[in-house]
Subunit: 672 residues, 2 copies
């Protein structure tokens, strides 16, 4: 029997058991489609007690293993969710979802939607009007329908249509969007309507006419005149990496690196989840994960006004995780973590290499030279990276947790992939998008991310504060020259939304009031460094605004409640709002010196450039958690000095007299 652990992901055997218990709730032969079978974490006080015992090598409490199951009846499409106790083999909760709640999409459903749309005779007739050249073929991206309150009670998909040269299966079809868009009912798998898309400056719709194929825009290497002057660069760790990994249960991992240790989980919704993060035995975070993304588009015209993706709730960061390839997605000495998810039949399936773990050098960590003696002290900034990459149809997200030796945790998002495109008449331009290719409009869109941080700074009893900085008033006694300024802390008393204010240099901090820094007596804490962003532009009361419950403020803080993990609500597909963090926070719970949760919002307003096509160069966003008076000195002080004896750099000779003045290894290069 494999070791169990309350935070380890569900195992294949547990997936099978959970599916069987659900199936047993219905009469034999009932066809069930599974949406997800994931770990239902035990209640936090129980897990906290377990983790404490584990750290203190005390006898471990027995905690039941539970799975959370989302499924639907294939006959009716009716969705349910259920809590399954795997230890007692009992289904403890099992109920249909409430009104307007739809579970995530999945590969089976997407395939069925495509089939339904393409085999529909009216769709075929509409496509025939395009008089497509016989060397072209249709490609379809089904999108969740979104919400606008107009006949959107059924579960629906909006299909985006493109063409590609026949048989060129990896051609970039996003360079060839069509202006017809079938809407498919996902319960009946019937086309209920065919929308036509406006392609001019306003909402006017044109009768489909002959489609003029534009030049291709391939991103494949064989279609490029590749650069020939890029020399290889290898990252080598001759003694292996500096981290240790051990199993936690069957599928969890404990990672230890440079005084950090934590547990790595992986699930359908969030992908990577980190638990029980400690530094030198001191607790920092109980849990951290990406909670949701929201991507509303700018084009106000039907059917684009509904375009609004929630990539975690609608699809799943676990489900979409790439199988990472050595030497392609990750450079250096790499360890891979694999996951197991459930398919639509309730069977486990392997998700190999969904997380890569490696170290990277990020330049200098700290340096000082005594100018009197010339003696320099310097260390490099080694980082530990856990990276996962999602493909959500056209877009890619490269997500990483990064730890360093100075007690800092960063979360990095790199947005890349292909813009979601739509057709536009040649010669037309619009203020809500950019023409990126002939006949191709990339509409503006906002990307919002919610990073859920469940802190445990030296314990679970924490508070949120913010530090503002303001000038001293001009004062003949204390500030006669008008140059002084002061910082001061404000304690956040109630759950709710909060905003940055650069004019006051506002910085949010998570503090433990009961643990004081021995040097200066201030509470130990971590600050949150996050770039400000333009809040959601959709009007208050609009469906986009109601659904995107975290996109209107820089941060939300809530008091911990079991099951409150989802910034955009547990079910985001065609959601209508009211179930996410805005709603959790509206309770106005007292949160001073309580078990609190911080939801950090960040994002970009993507105004596309031609340079973002056909694939966009990464756009990077970073959230940093940095200790503030948590340690008694720079925690990276004990990093071994940066020295040539260890680093073995090479001196290049760049000599005019050399054949092509190219920089080559110096013959006398020291290899100490």
């Amino acid at each position: 029997m494999p070791a169990t652990h309350p935070l380890a992901p569900v195992t294949p055997a547990e997936i099978n058991a959970a599916a069987a218990l659900i199936k047993a709730q219905f009469s034999p032969g009932t066809l069930i489609g599974f949406k997800s079978i994931t770990l239902l974490e035990p209640e936090k006080p129980l897990v906290a007690e377990y983790l404490k015992a584990e750290r203190e090598n005390l006898p471990l409490p027995q905690l039941p293993r539970k799975a959370f199951v989302v499924y639907y009846l294939k006959s009716t499409g009716r969705p349910f969710d259920a809590n399954v106790n795997l230890s007692t083999c009992k289904v403890e909760h099992n109920a249909p979802l409430g009104p307007f709640l739809h579970p995530n999409s999945d590969g089976y459903e997407i395939m069925k939607i495509e089939e339904a749309a393409l085999s529909d005779l009216l769709v075929q007739a509409e496509i025939a009007k395009l008089q497509l050249s016989p060397d072209l073929e249709i490609v379809m991206d089904p999108w969740g329908y979104g919400s606008d309150g107009n006949g959107d009670e059924p579960r629906l998909f909006q299909c985006l249509l493109y063409v590609r040269p026949k048989g060129k299966v990896d051609a970039n079809h996003y360079a060839h969007p069509l202006n017809i868009s079938p809407v498919v009912d996902a319960t009946t798998f019937k086309v209920i309507r065919i929308d036509r898309m406006p392609t001019g400056v306003n909402g006017a719709i044109k009768e489909p006419g002959k489609f003029e194929m534009q030049p291709e825009s391939s991103y494949l290497p064989e279609d490029q005149d590749l650069r020939r002057d890029l020399k290889p660069l290898h990252v080598i760790q001759p003694e292996g990496a500096s981290f240790k990994i051990s199993r936690v249960g069957e599928l969890g991992q404990r990672l230890e690196w440079q005084k950090w240790d934590f547990i790595v989980g992986f699930n359908q919704r969030e992908g990577m989840v980190l638990y029980d993060i400690h530094y030198e035995g001191r607790s920092v975070l109980y849990r951290i994960s990406l909670s949701e993304m929201s991507i509303p588009y700018a084009d106000p015209r039907a059917p684009f006004h509904r375009k609004h993706a929630f990539d975690l709730g609608d699809a799943g960061a676990g489900t979409m995780a790439n199988n990472l390839k050595l030497g392609c997605d990750c450079l250096g000495s790499i360890h891979y973590i694999s996951g197991v998810l459930a398919d639509d039949k309730g069977d486990p399936f392997d998700m190999p290499n969904v997380v890569c773990v490696h170290e990277q050098d990020n330049g200098i960590g700290w340096k000082h030279t005594n100018y009197r003696t010339g003696r320099a002290a310097i260390v490099r900034n080694r980082e530990l990276v856990l990276q996962s990459i999602l493909t959500v149809s056209n877009y890619e997200y490269i997500l990483a947790f990064i730890f360093n030796q100075a007690g800092e945790i960063s979360y990095e998002v790199r947005a890349t992939g292909i813009l979601s495109t739509q057709p536009i008449d040649l010669g037309v331009s619009v203020p809500f998008g950019t023409v990126v290719h002939p006949g191709v409009l990339a509409a503006h869109h906002q990307h919002f991310f919610s990073l859920r941080i469940d802190p445990a700074i030296d314990g679970h009893c924490n508070r949120l504060t913010y530090t503002d900085v303001e000038p001293y008033p001009h004062d003949e006694y204390f500030n006669p020259h008008g140059v002084g300024y002061r910082s001061f802390n404000t304690v956040v008393e109630k759950s709710g939304p909060l905003d940055l204010d650069i004019s006051r240099n506002r910085v949010f901090k998570i503090e433990n009031e009961h643990r004081r820094n021995p040097i200066n007596g201030l509470p130990v804490g971590y600050k949150i460094q996050v770039p400000d962003f333009q809040k959601i532009l959709a009007a208050e009361g609009s469906f986009h605004h109601r659904r995107s419950e975290f996109a209107d403020h820089n941060l939300y803080v809530t008091r911990y409640r079991e099951g409150e993990l989802w910034a955009g609500g547990q079910y985001t597909f065609q959601s209508r709002g009211g179930n996410g963090v805005r709603s959790y926070a509206a309770r106005k719970d007292a949160i001073v010196d309580e078990d609190i949760v911080i939801w950090v919002s960040f994002g970009i307003n993507h105004i596309p450039r031609v340079e973002d096509f056909p694939v966009m160069p990464v756009e990077m966003l970073r959230v940093h958690l940095k200790p503030v008076n948590f340690f008694t000195k720079n925690p990276a002080l004990d990093v071994p000095p940066s020295s040539q004896a260890v680093n073995r750099s090479e001196l290049l000779t760049c000599d005019d007299k050399a054949a092509d003045s190219c920089c080559i290894k110096s013959r006398g290069s020291p290899r100490l």
Copy 2:
């Protein structure tokens, strides 16, 4: 005779010649102290013509070589500046500086100030009151006096005093600040006053009493219990680097890398300067350099109210540049560029290895996976880095220009080094600083940087615009669902200051109205991505505010004028404002489709943490220049795919059964 080039730094022979020409202006035996002898760039139209001819392989115009010389008469301290024509051996301009203008400090002067203060009998008497233990000795950091309008007409220094254990020359004296501070006249080298520093909550001054030595706070590796579990990480380029370097004149360098090419200069004031930056033969920038830094402190009490460093104008980024060490400051395959500056006697002296040039891998550059076929296309993000490190007494700045393969130029600042400290009574805390060690206060301070960008986007005739984003009004016809939004461009008509506005997602762009993108007809351009910052807190009208002419806005734009290179004014030491970019911009020049200069301000308000002591972990700031409709597609599309055949990564086995579960190289690791 060495080749000359109008943008190459002055050579040793030119330094000697310039100094000799200046000396010849005075009667024999006149003692002259030189502050700087640097390249005086020819007028821009002449250089532009030269660079054009160079690129087109046409006959090169003959341009005179000129030096700019700042010096003073040792007998009187009177400062002058001069333009010396090295081609004609004529001094073309030579005049004393105007009132309140002081040149930079230099090593000779600092040494003389230290001597003057330490040998002063009143200072010795004051120190005697501290009853220092005989195993301690005094260390002194002379600071430029700053300005407050009260008797600060003479050139003055304010000396900060510390102690260290006797003979421990690399001990961290900043952990032991004293509360007495001599003020020295830099013309007479006499102590004119001894200030006492307040050490309580207000401005009250105490009679110096017995000094209580606190524990040391060493940053030296031999004083740490160093981590023993960090494994080596090597960056290897087996075929050398991908860049080429050739000489430009005697001391300039032309760098070619991945379709980029530009000239690298180095001078006393700015350190690194890049000129004539082109991508694939297309002009992007004429010149880029750090123009100034300004660091005002928060403590309103005398004498701290004057603490305000301008590290370029007061000291010089060239003068302060570290001699970089292979394997310590730079990792991988490194090329070093050395410089030559002039000493106080007017003799050339070598500045070896002041810039390191290398490539680095910065993760994934772009990726897309076709979810239908599973085919992934992916490239890595290779960067070219030019790095220079400054030591300015206690602080360090790591400065880098970074180029990538997607047509982007970044400027990175890493702030590190030691906080400027002052004494504080035990048990006292104040809102304008943080106690970082017993008896040690690190006052809050703002760091402002001005990056001067002289653009030439497809030519010198450019405009500055900004793009704002705003929601469409609710409109039953066009925006019935309240979700639409639009972007629109505003042309900046006149020189002046400008500010970011995150609520409008404001992005500044430099555009060439006369060159249009063939895909969408929009003007070619580059956008400026820069983090917002809290503007200078010192009140308008205060000396800090008047002096720091770039710290009150996110950006200044001016019309190009010869010699206008200095955001904080040409002479910042004890400056009073009125000579920097705020003053240049106040002309309200017409700047649409003109030769414009962009001055990007950025910075941080440093509220110290205990973790920033004794040496602070790097705090990073980045400015990005990114193409916007400059190219016809993603310019990094032709980067060769990321593949194991080239990258040679290694698979780690992290096995529970291994001795310590440490991640080691997998035996079967592919090395294709």
